[in-house]
């Protein structure tokens, strides 16, 4: 890893411990990882290995039980609800396996959702949303609702939504899991392009073909990082 790159995420020996009745489950056990600008990382691992938990913590949806998490040198580990919401809004773009588009909104309105929670004015919101949709090549689908779009198109709308706020990193959780192979490849090609354009990408997947696209591969097992190359 070239050290000249800017460090975006610094995770230092974090653990996530759940108490289920009398059982203590260590979803993450003393995990440390650094993520740099323009990284393209795949996180792999069998189910229960802790990859979702790691993803949630990186995405500021969850906080670790122990350890230190810094995002752009800001200490995340002990932020409150609205501070976390703010980080999610400004720094992180999520792409989900099931797209999670709001069915009653048009593509444009869906892309606008994260911008609504920012301080942008209405004009700027529209402009950014249109921009993001044109990046994913859906300028001609702005007024379509999700049920009028194909699976691949829906995921592209979701990616546009993730891009809209110009986040520091994009977190994709099994982005091709609900797509046919052709659409899946299309989305992966698009991730390549985003990486070339300078974006930082983290993809959680269990598909080898997806992981191969990434420039860096992280594998988890029993809450520990076993491979990072």
């Amino acid at each position: 890893m070239p050290k000249s790159k800017k460090e975006i995420i610094a995770i230092d020996s974090i653990s996530k411990i759940y108490h289920l009745g009398n059982n203590v489950v260590k979803a993450l056990d003393d995990v440390s990882i650094s993520i740099y600008e323009n990284d393209f990382i795949s996180i792999m691992g069998p189910s229960g290995s802790g990859k979702s938990t790691l993803m949630n913590i990186i995405g500021c949806l969850d906080v670790p039980t122990k350890g230190v998490y810094k995002f752009n040198n800001e200490l995340i580990s002990d932020m409150n609800d609205s501070q976390l919401a703010n980080i999610r809004n400004e720094k992180i773009g999520f792409v989900f396996q099931t797209f999670n588009l709001l069915p009653k909104l048009t593509s444009l309105q869906n892309v606008e959702v994260p911008l609504i929670y920012s301080s942008l004015g209405r004009k700027e919101r529209l402009q950014r949303s249109e921009e993001a949709l044109s990046i994913v090549g859906l300028s001609d689908r702005m007024t379509h609702k999700p049920n009028e779009l194909s699976g691949g198109q829906r995921q592209r709308v979701a990616i546009a939504r993730a891009l809209a706020n110009k986040p520091s990193i994009i977190l994709a959780d099994e982005p091709t899991g609900n797509l046919d192979s052709k659409s899946g490849v299309e989305i992966l090609n698009f991730f390549d392009e985003l990486h070339k354009a300078g974006n930082t990408l983290i993809i959680v997947t269990h598909e080898e073909s997806v992981a191969k696209r990434a420039k860096r591969r992280v594998e988890l097992f029993d809450g520990k990082i076993v491979i990072d190359e």
């Binding site: 949630n56 995405g59 949806l61 969850d62 609800d81 609205s82 919401a85 703010n86 999610r88 809004n89 400004e90 999520f94 989900f96 999670n100 709001l102 009653k104 959702v113 994260p114 609504i116 929670y117 920012s118 301080s119 939504r161 706020n165």
Partner: protein, 406 residues
Amino acid sequence: MNSLFKNILIGLAAVRANLTRVILTSLGLTIGIFTVSIVTAGVSSIDKEFDKSMEYYGNDKIYVGTWPWSFDFDWWQYRNRPKISEDSLEYITKYSTYISDVSIKKNTWTRGSFGNKASWLQLNGVYPGYDEMLSGTKIVNGRFFSQNEWDLQRRVVIVGGTVRDGFFDGEDPIGKKIRLNNVTFEVIGELKKQGMGMVPGGTLDNLVIMPSSTFSRILTRWGFDELVLKTKPEDMSKAKEEVGMIMRLARKLKPDQDDNFSVNSADAYQDQFDAIKIAIAGMGFLVTGISLVVSAIGIMNVMFVSVRERTREIGLRKAMGATSNNILIQFLSEAVAISIIGGSTGIILVKLITMALSAFSPLPIDFDILLIFYTFMICVFIGVSAGMVPARTAANLNPIDALRHE
């Protein structure tokens, strides 16, 4: 402020998306607002009617009779009291300092007729100058009888509004001859129409007034006499006390004997009327209160459904950067919007009904901007209180669990 507005808009969009459900839910509130408006309007219109009746009796009049003006009297105590006699008036004029004018008022009911029309009428026999003592019921046409007519026991009458309408079809009644108890009388005057009264006696317009001298000569059947005494409104209680003492003197009652007469005035009705009004308003507000509580529960229920249906949306919005407060406001505005829709429908309904009613009766309903304002405040209050628990549930959802929700 800007973010508040944006979240309100998101809440309103949800209302538009589920319009049928929203309207059905808000129906309870519609009924509540409708009842409260009708009760308020009803009470105020009863109030006005009552004031009109009070005007008839006057706030400056004392009525001395055998029976007290009260609904809870023990009638057996009063039925054997001696009749009121005109002789007492001499004592009152002689000794009273507060009474400025007096009259006898003889009451009976009889069959009256004009041509082929007949009706039961209330008859009053009074002194000349009684018209000066009338407060609400003024002579609007013709004249009152004179001292001379009283002395000569002339058969002249002054008729009330319904007598005029019923017998003469709105024609000028002056000079017409009507028959009362098979005796012919000439109409010489007409009283201002009062409308329905809220006090005993029913309508105040079904009335015929004549000289008490004529009355005694011709109508000797059943009925009762009262003394009508005029004072100043501010002297009312002192005057009543004084009249009570003079009456005891006139009737030569010993100190250990109870009064065998009653000194009445219109304010006695006021207390009883207030009690009735409070009862009506209390019932109305009880019904309203229940329907408001029920509708609040309905809104709360629908809000829980809405939160459940949109759990994933909440998770997504949180992942996209919505704070708990953003979500709270979104769902609160949805609840408030539902309740305002219900309230507005209620107001519109009230407006329509009063418009329809006013075509038939002059029911005075105070439909003003204040009512709209109060309704709005009630709706906001109900919306916030009904929506608070569901909205908090939504706001406190963990985004990870919410996103996984099926």
